[in-house]
Symmetry: D2
Subunit: 340 residues, 4 copies
């Protein structure tokens, strides 16, 4: 921590700060400057709460230097984490593709989409059985019936199932059926739910909240890991900004930013990130080009009849083309990686 | 709904849209323009999902016109709602003041602060027994012990207790002790929790999410009301923006905006809204001047030792002055109201 | 400046940083910590560019501590500045009210509005003769003819004139007619224009840019002052956020934030800040309650015929009531100020 | 335009709106609904100002349907525009690469960087001779001397020169030396400057403002085109959001959004868009993958000594690798384009 005194701070006020630093068991390093004194603080094992100092007379600012997370950080574990999901992985050399409808609506709809998706060699199938909806009057998902349909997809097509959990209680249920438990953006700071999936035996896909900073996203992952579940996959899905040409603003720069600080894999969801079908393919290509560990794509054979988020679902032929493009782009990265 | 065709739409494409509108049981109103045709849709009882049309060839845009909420709106109930909390009210002619520490830390700390607050004639005491914290390593609250301390405050000082609920399970517990159940900003779209407090017998204080739009805030309240609990109080507590001079950007314009659309009372929390002690008093005055139904203020007798959010807590003498100022400002509004 | 080394930094890398600090003429203060070393830098008269260090091997972060502005800051001039405009002032004990139409549209329109405004005892009249419009096809103002009408308002009603300048060239012209030169939000970082009004003999009203940080606003004022014009008034007029219930989000917290760092007066424009008539009065009251040095309000006798921004202009009777309310609220603040 | 009456609107109020629509020369289409009446308006050649109606009693909302721009839109010109710059083009099948230092600092520095860049087969060289700086105390550029150095780069290496213009006056000067006139983000709504470059004989590179919407960007281009200069290239360079892991948030989704509405080429500047060297390469790859018509990259042989924006400049070897990668990614897109 660095404590910056205000220019009018008296010598006594500086002394009081030094004293408190020592009382808290840390070591102060006073640095008198031309207009103001700064005091470095060392000897702390974790971050120090700036509020201890900010209130003190003569203190201008207290600036945190240490990062508040541990388990998610590269300081603790340098090499990239690879999350195993059955026989497949997320975070390894090949980017993962997770595809399927926004919601499981019926057996027929789900199987039809699964067939399309599986035909592209996709390993992960997505589909919501429990849907968090902005309005209480919107379709809320099929519940356990939906989970059974998803299990059927796994049996028939061999794809691993990614599906959302909404609360502690349905984690018990979803855990029986799914391969990856998804935490939606609205629940990124539902700490009870984070702790619960931290005790689960299945990997967790954690979506970034709509206005979550990088630190908040990493601390949400830290909640899960602090309960013992180290299989966490992060997911960028667009943030809230003033921009109105897409539903959310997809922030691809968080991919290299996460990769710099954390060993966890990070994927991108351009379907929610843009909310419009015609922007999903270009931004899926961009997600792979930026270096993401995978993409999550909504596909629907009849988006006009979809019970949620139809306008962002790709039609089967658009999806087939997208898979080809992202695989070709990934080859470029791979080759250059090898070359360097 | 208004469907705007693209300039290149063919007559057949327009005809297809008209047909689908009729099939869905609505009435189309085609309006041919110089460059493009627009089609009004009527006959719907609630909002129509634009995705039915957006995918169709020739359609440029589908614009929603009806509001998606019912129970919270003034269309259904024109007069202002007044929420009863024991012998007191929130939403009536006198703005409510809710004050206390961020977290209940100990019996002594809580009683000391309660005494200060009660001496100002404040009717509502706040304090967290269960704390949602960004880091898993931060103080998480005293739990039931904290609730017992809060109940003691009610017994001794006659103030009504406002405290946060974090998940379904602790609603059962908190309901026994508290007078108002608070939903924090991070849980504004925790729909499971919203439904659960919608079944509770206590009023709910619903805080606006960090990047929630006005519609999303009202729909979150709709979730609670749709379960039968009509005693909902909204609360503005600052939103996420690029601005870095306060922790959040307090959006006071939402107060008149809510009051225009909804009958529910709305209060303001300038403590979280600014995150800095020196800005709490000016923004509390502003909140009353803008017409809010109350304010929620963090007070601490020893903020430097607070276990959470110390830098935003007012000292007792600052709080005493604030209460005087906001009461005087409210008198100005009241007088002018009477005069008009 | 504080340089934080990364945890893996070698002793040699730390040494290289210390060496460069000394070469640049500053004094390094190394502080070895448990996981990483931090290096304080003193001896600089102004801010140091972090880029000197950020590129170096082993450096994690370089954190700026000194503020980049001088003339606008309270470090240099502690007491509040009061800007004289003819016989009136902005920044003194009485909040200034600046009112008038968005644009000068005609002699009759302007005189009619001026009469209404003057009757309330308002000292400053606003009205645009040169209008910055988002579309090239919108009304762009009457130009010099508009300035002549404004001069007529001053002659007839004794109010001082505030009007916008758009570029270097029209500063020459506007300076002849106006009493205060307004820089609009879109021009807050038009540095050529800032320098030009810095050489003018008239006070400058500088509006905050739509996404300007506090530092950027103060540095824009620094540009003007660095050319010798010390009569600068700042103005908050709303910023861009995701919120869609007002045209902009009025950020009243910047008022106490500016007052903490700078001696310059700051006023608030709730007309542009909200963009909707029904929110102007509540937010004007809030602006005074937060402690602003004045407000700027758009008034129109026939807003439905206004050539720009009609929906945010107050009708005369609404304005009369607003003036009463804000004066009463100001009395409350004044009385409490006296008491403290 | 669509006018939505409020639920309480009386028949007379509806009639008044219909009357005004007719008086303004348009055709009203009333559509009575279950709870409220909507009125479509047709017969207008351009957009109608909603303020004509918003003030009227009984009107809930007036929703604009027509787009406010003409010349930039695909309605007027369907095929993509290709901007000629000497013997090269921007907007054609091959993405343009524009590279060079942030600022021209000296003859030697510029030539050294130019040599590096030219060796990669880059056709466009960038470098600022006039620099818009947030602080009046920062380096402001070499002025005409810088322009002469840039002209020398063109002579020696055959690259075309892109450089910024700050105000009307220096357009005269810059036009003599440069091949493309750049308008910076802070000047995107400096309408005087837009009109001036609209009269220039050189292509204009228009950067998106820090909080500009898609419509505002297109209308800024419309200002230039409305003066007769049709050679406009748009540029995304990051927007202001709450996110703090990059200097700005690069909004790649605006690329397909612009391409849907406008025929103008759009390029991406990941150097300013991220502000950090380690994120420039991944986001440059992403920009090409999303379909941008080019990228603009800052390169410096000695970024630690750069007078501005050193931390975002690539070192020569990083740039060489980036050029290879983006060309390979472009080939993937090209091949797939051909295949579809």
């Amino acid at each position: 921590m660095l404590i910056v005194m205000s220019p009018e701070a008296t010598a006594d006020q500086v002394e009081d700060v030094l004293k408190l630093v020592r009382e808290l068991g840390f070591k102060p390093h006073p640095m008198p400057g031309a207009t103001r004194t700064a005091i470095g603080v060392t000897g702390n094992s974790g971050p120090i709460d700036p509020s201890h100092f900010e209130f003190m007379p003569g203190v201008g600012e207290a600036i945190r230097v240490s990062k508040p997370y541990k388990l998610v950080g590269r300081d603790l574990k340098h090499e990239d984490s690879v999350v195993k999901v059955g026989e497949f992985t997320i975070g390894g050399p090949i980017p993962a593709i997770i595809a399927g409808p926004c919601a499981v609506e019926s057996f027929e709809q789900t199987m039809e989409i699964a067939e399309t998706v599986a035909a592209c060699g996709v390993n992960f199938f997505r589909g919501g059985a429990f849907k968090p909806r902005t309005s209480p009057y919107s379709f809320q998902g099929l519940g356990e019936e939906g989970l059974k349909i998803l299990a059927e997809v796994r049996n028939k097509f061999g794809m691993r199932i990614v599906t959302e959990v909404l609360d502690q209680e349905n984690v018990d249920l979803v855990e029986e059926y799914a391969d990856v438990l998804q935490i939606g953006a609205r629940n990124m700071q539902n700490f009870t739910l984070l702790r619960r999936v931290g005790q689960a035996k299945k990997p967790v896909l954690l979506k970034r909240g709509m206005s979550a900073t990088l630190d908040e996203l990493l601390l949400a992952a830290e909640y899960i890991m602090s309960e013992g579940n180290y299989d966490v996959i992060l997911c960028e899905r667009g943030v809230r900004t003033f921009a109105d040409h897409t539903r959310n603003t997809l922030d691809l720069s968080i991919v290299p930013a996460v990769q710099g600080l954390s060993h966890l894999p990070i994927i991108v969801d351009p379907s929610h990130g843009t909310g419009r079908r015609d922007k999903v393919t270009p931004l899926a290509r961009a997600a792979i080009a930026v270096g993401a560990d995978g993409i999550m794509i909504e596909v629907h054979t009849h988006p006009e009849r979809a019970l949620s988020d139809g306008p962002q679902a790709l039609l089967p032929d658009m999806f087939v083309k997208l898979v080809e493009e992202v695989r070709s782009i990934h080859k470029v990265l791979e080759k250059n990686e090898g070359a360097s």
